[in-house]
């Protein structure tokens, strides 16, 4: 009887065998001058997988994210995004960036454009959509992140949380299959953090692939399929979020979790 129930109820581990690989990183090294910021990074992210990157400041989390969308050039190793290898060739970079949406810690909204114009800008200039169509798409995503009422305002007239949600909408407008987040809530006041995390949770449930650097461990526990712990430019430990938080195997992760939890 007991055995039957065990077979009937599959283990709660989500997506143990991802259907396809979204991001594949092999032996990635990144130097700033003589300083090595990333050392032999191996990481695979499946399609639809939610991966959280954490680690102390200066451990190379941003560098890793920024190498994936070529805001930093990697020095060796390979990065593949949905099958395309990211070389330093402009056409490859564009091909890879087309798959990716990026959300920065500091929002990086265009301050002289309204919220709506921020969202339609790339649609009109990169995808060359007519204004009406671009507006429709932008309004749809602004509604998804709950800032539809602010469309005519300028970013500086919005709270930090609203600005970050606009930045998320702006990235989503280009319909990326993978979203990269670099500490999206670190620049926010505590009241705003929740609103942004809720949007990201909703987003995670849509089946989009996410790689997210964050110190919000509660959020990580709720949404992550996998957590990756980095230190000094290396991946020290990774695992499903359950194992990661309840049974860390390395002393360094244990120490880190004790600090942030």
């Amino acid at each position: 009887m007991n055995a039957v129930t065990q077979i009937a109820v599959p283990s709660p581990v989500r997506r143990e065998t991802p259907a396809a690989v979204a991001i594949s990183i092999r032996k990635l090294n990144k130097f700033y001058g003589g300083f090595q910021a990333l050392r032999d990074i191996d990481l695979e992210v499946g399609q639809g997988e939610i991966v959280i990157l954490c680690g102390p400041s200066g451990s190379g989390k941003s560098s890793l994210i920024r190498c994936i969308n070529h805001l930093e050039q990697h020095n060796s190793g390979t990065i593949r995004v949905n099958g395309t290898e990211l070389t330093h060739k402009a056409s490859d970079v564009a091909q890879v960036r087309r798959q990716l949406g990026m959300v920065f810690q500091g929002f990086n909204l265009f301050p002289h454009m309204t919220v709506l114009a921020n969202c339609t800008f790339a649609l009109r200039l990169a995808l060359r959509l007519p204004a009406a169509e671009a507006n429709d798409i932008a309004r749809e995503y602004l509604a998804r992140v709950n800032v539809q009422d602010q469309a005519a305002k300028y970013p500086s007239e919005l709270s930090g949380g609203q600005q970050q949600r606009v930045a998320i909408a702006r990235a989503l407008c280009l319909k990326p299959s993978i979203m990269l987040f670099d500490e999206p809530t670190s620049a926010l006041d505590p009241e705003s953090v929740g609103s942004v995390l809720r949007i990201m949770e909703d987003l995670a449930a849509t089946g989009i692939t996410m790689v997210c650097v964050t110190h919000e461990m509660g959020f990580a526990r709720r949404v992550a399929d996998r957590c990756v712990f980095m230190e000094k430019g290396e991946i020290v430990e990774e695992g499903t979020s359950d194992r990661f938080f309840s049974a860390p195997s390395t002393a360094r992760l244990k120490a880190f979790l004790q600090q942030v939890l």
Partner: protein, 237 residues
């Protein structure tokens, strides 16, 4: 009382002043923008050319530069042309010498101004445009330029006023602008006060007009930015 004939001449001179000032400033903007862009990244050869250019044109008084262009200009052009095997004889007019001198001198100042404005645009703005796949020309024109303009406007306004006032010196190379006519009228009528006052009123009027227009442009360029308590623009050099 000023004589209408001389006042009319002052008007013609004023138009010439405006023409020289506007053309010099446009040339300065072009030179300044070009140098600002090519010196953004530290590159040895370009950096060296810039250093030489900047030290000459910010070190030598603009009037002297105008004299050099006016008196030695045809020689300079001829010898440059002979380097590539051409024989060219050009007459440098006072007008051309004035525009070239003021344009090149203030181009050197504007280059510094524009470069530092570009460097003060947060790098995140370039990065956001990149990840959004916005083509480079559109990024520069629609994302960076408006922010550069906002940062550089106060300095650019002052520079315009300085250029305009410097045209008064250039009368010394024989350019028939407002100062030249004021001097002429004063000499003939033996009433220097009235014509110099009129010329001064012209420059004052232009300065006021400049501040009025620049306020407008500034408040437009500040769209989207939180209003901050701003200092009055510092007086031009």
């Amino acid at each position: 009382m000023p004589e209408m004939g001389f006042v009319q001449q002052l008007g013609i001179g004023a138009l010439m002043t405006i023409k020289v000032a506007v053309l010099s400033y446009l040339l300065a903007l072009a030179i300044g923008t070009a140098f600002a862009l090519v010196t953004l990244r530290r590159r040895l050869v370009v950096g060296f050319i810039w250093q030489v250019y900047a030290s000459i044109f910010t070190g030598v008084p603009s009037l002297l530069v105008a004299f050099l262009f006016f008196y030695a200009g045809s020689g300079i052009v001829a010898s440059l042309a002979s380097l590539v095997g051409l024989t060219v004889t050009v007459d440098i007019s006072p007008f051309a010498a004035a525009v070239a001198a003021l344009g090149m001198v203030y181009g050197a100042y504007l280059a510094d101004l524009i470069r530092s404005a570009i460097q003060n645009v947060p790098p995140g703005q370039f990065e956001a445009a990149k990840v959004l796949l916005v083509p480079q020309p559109a990024t520069w024109l629609l994302v960076i330029l408006p922010q550069v303009l906002r940062l550089a406007l106060p300095g650019m306004t002052n520079m315009w006023i300085v250029v305009m006032k410097d045209t008064a010196l250039i009368s010394l190379i024989g350019l028939k602008e407002i100062m030249a006519y004021a001097k002429l009228a004063s000499g003939v009528t033996k009433e220097p006060f009235i014509y110099y006052v009129l010329a001064s009123v012209f420059f004052l009027g232009m300065t006021w007009l400049t501040y009025f227009v620049s306020r407008r442009i500034e408040s437009w360029s500040e769209r989207g930015y939180k209003p901050v308590v701003k200092q009055e623009p510092a007086h031009a050099l």
